[in-house]
Amino acid sequence: MTVKVLVPTPLQTLTHNQATLECSGKNVADLIDSLEASFPGIKLRLCDEEGKPRRFLNLYVNSEDIRFLDGVKTTLKDGDEVSIVPAIAGG
């Protein structure tokens, strides 16, 4: 199972300058753990000490904010696209 992950500029130093990645995971939390396995340190940037996604970070599965889905428990299937987007923009 492969999920496409879009990585914002501030995290690309950790992903060897890759803006898109292929990864896997049965849900978003799982995906973050497998990103951590490939790119050590990335989880700490994505999540706070309690393991929750950071306050100023939005995560989308197929363009839908995971807060309108099941949060980090949102399930993923083959071909899904997960976007990691800094929340501070617009207005």
Binding site: T9, A19, F56, N58, S63, R67, S83, A87, I88, G91
Partner: protein
């Protein structure tokens, strides 16, 4: 294509120091970047307030241009090559008729419905953002907009000779679409709501080297809203008001009016005072009002459904900061229905002769709600911010206003129509009394 020239941001300035993360304090150079690489918190411009204090005075400001650039030292540009289209210094009107209607004794209206060049407060932020964009070497600028921002970016980019791409929701009011197209930018009408196109633009900003005024240029852009605080203080005779009421979309404007007041205090231009900050949202998109009422310390995003399209941001970037300001200043955040918004637009027009758009209608409706529920002291000096022009959102009030009386070019036709209109007026009065 744009070529950002990295070294231009090194132009020396003793007042402008760095970009600083509002959350963790990490500092960055004054480049086109808007989020902290460590915690994703927002970056803000850091100034040397001691240097600023010694370089500003009331007299110097008063003898400056009749525009936002009279506050140039407080704005994040490094050179005097800024774009001045006469933006800012809009009237601060003493309200009599609206004030009486609401039972308020000291109500003032800051009227940005006639701001230049595109009739909304966005001209302030865009003037600053594009001035900085030019300093940073961008030749292409862009924005994610609910309409007014796109109008402003397109117009000021045209004036400055910058290439322009704007992104708007595809269901915007005709006046706001036309109000961009006339300046010949490339307009992308995105099938989706503002939050969806904002996410899209964040992704585009990653890959295209454009100056997005409210994404990678956001730390500079947002500072332009401070001038709504500065002007009110200056127009009140170098005093702060007691209470302000302003609309809330992303929350940025609200937080920057607060910052503007604080900076005038820090630099000795005005006496310190606790100014109460109250915010206005439309019920169909009220994530900040909901969090405020529930006492949450987080904002739960919503999917917008309101006629106040310029306030339809379901996932507000500065929502949490706006809420904190309302809380700590003993202000309020209220929401109103679409019907109340329409009535707000009409009330302002009929009592003060100011035609505002739906955002202004929202703000007036919330002002009314707060006044009626005793949340504004009648003797407080209260400033209400009107941020956009009604001619841009004509659809919202179609069917809620009268129609012209079509008559023949004959005196008897006129007399009959006059009699009829007076009868209609009487009927309306009777309805009100019932």
């Amino acid at each position: 294509m744009t070529q950002a020239i990295a070294n231009l941001n090194q132009v020396s300035s003793t007042i402008l120091q760095a970009l600083k993360c509002k959350e963790c304090g990490t500092e960055y150079k004054l480049a086109a970047t808007h989020v902290c690489e460590l915690c994703f918190g927002p970056l803000e411009v850091k100034y040397d307030y001691n240097a600023l204090r010694s370089s500003v005075s009331r007299e110097k400001i008063q003898s400056g241009p009749n525009s936002i650039w009279r506050y140039r030292e407080f704005l994040p540009v490094a050179t005097d090559n800024y774009i001045d289209m006469g933006t800012g210094m809009t009237p601060l009107l003493r309200s009599h008729r609206l004030a009486r209607r609401l039972g308020l004794n000291k109500l003032l209206i800051k009227n940005d419905a006639i701001n230049m060049p595109t009739l909304s407060f966005k001209d302030r932020v865009v003037s600053v953002a594009l001035s900085r964009a030019r300093e940073l070497g961008f030749s292409t600028v862009s924005c994610a907009s609910t309409g007014n921002l796109a109008n402003s970016t397109a117009a000021i980019a045209a004036h400055a000779g910058l290439e322009c791409y704007t992104f708007i929701p595809s269901d915007l009011e005709a006046g706001k679409i036309l109000g961009s197209l006339i300046y010949s930018p490339t307009v992308m009408a995105v099938k989706g709501n503002y939050d969806q196109l904002n996410r899209l633009c964040s992704e585009i900003a990653n890959t295209h080297n454009w100056g997005f005024v409210n994404i990678n240029l956001r730390p500079y852009y947002s500072e332009g809203s401070k001038t709504l605080g500065f002007e009110v203080a200056e127009q009140l005779g170098w005093e702060l008001p007691d209470h302000i009421v302003a609309p809330l979309a992303s929350g940025s404007l609200f937080t920057k009016i607060y910052k503007g007041f604080q900076e005038f205090v820090k630099t000795g231009l005005v006496e310190d005072k606790n100014v109460r900050f109250s915010g206005a949202q439309a019920e169909g998109c009220s994530p900040i009002a909901q969090a405020f009422k529930a006492g949450h310390d987080f904002i739960q995003p919503v999917k917008p459904n309101t006629i106040a399209k310029s306030l339809a941001i379901g996932n507000p970037a500065d929502g949490i900061y706006a809420m904190e300001i309302a809380q700590k200043t003993q202000g309020n955040i209220e929401s109103v229905t679409d019907q109340e918004i329409i009535e707000g637009i009409k009330l302002l027009a009929e009592t003060e002769g100011i035609f505002t758009e739906t955002a202004g209608g929202t703000t007036i409706a919330v002002l009314k709600k707060l006044a009626e529920s005793g949340k504004i002291d009648p003797d407080e000096t209260t400033v209400v911010y009107i941020t956009g022009n009604g001619l841009k959102t004509q659809e919202a009030i179609q069917g809620y206003i009268g129609e012209p009386l079509t008559i023949d070019a004959k005196i008897d036709s006129f007399e009959r129509a006059l009699e009829r209109s007076r009868t209609l007026e009487r009927l309306e009065w009777q309805q009100v009394l019932v």
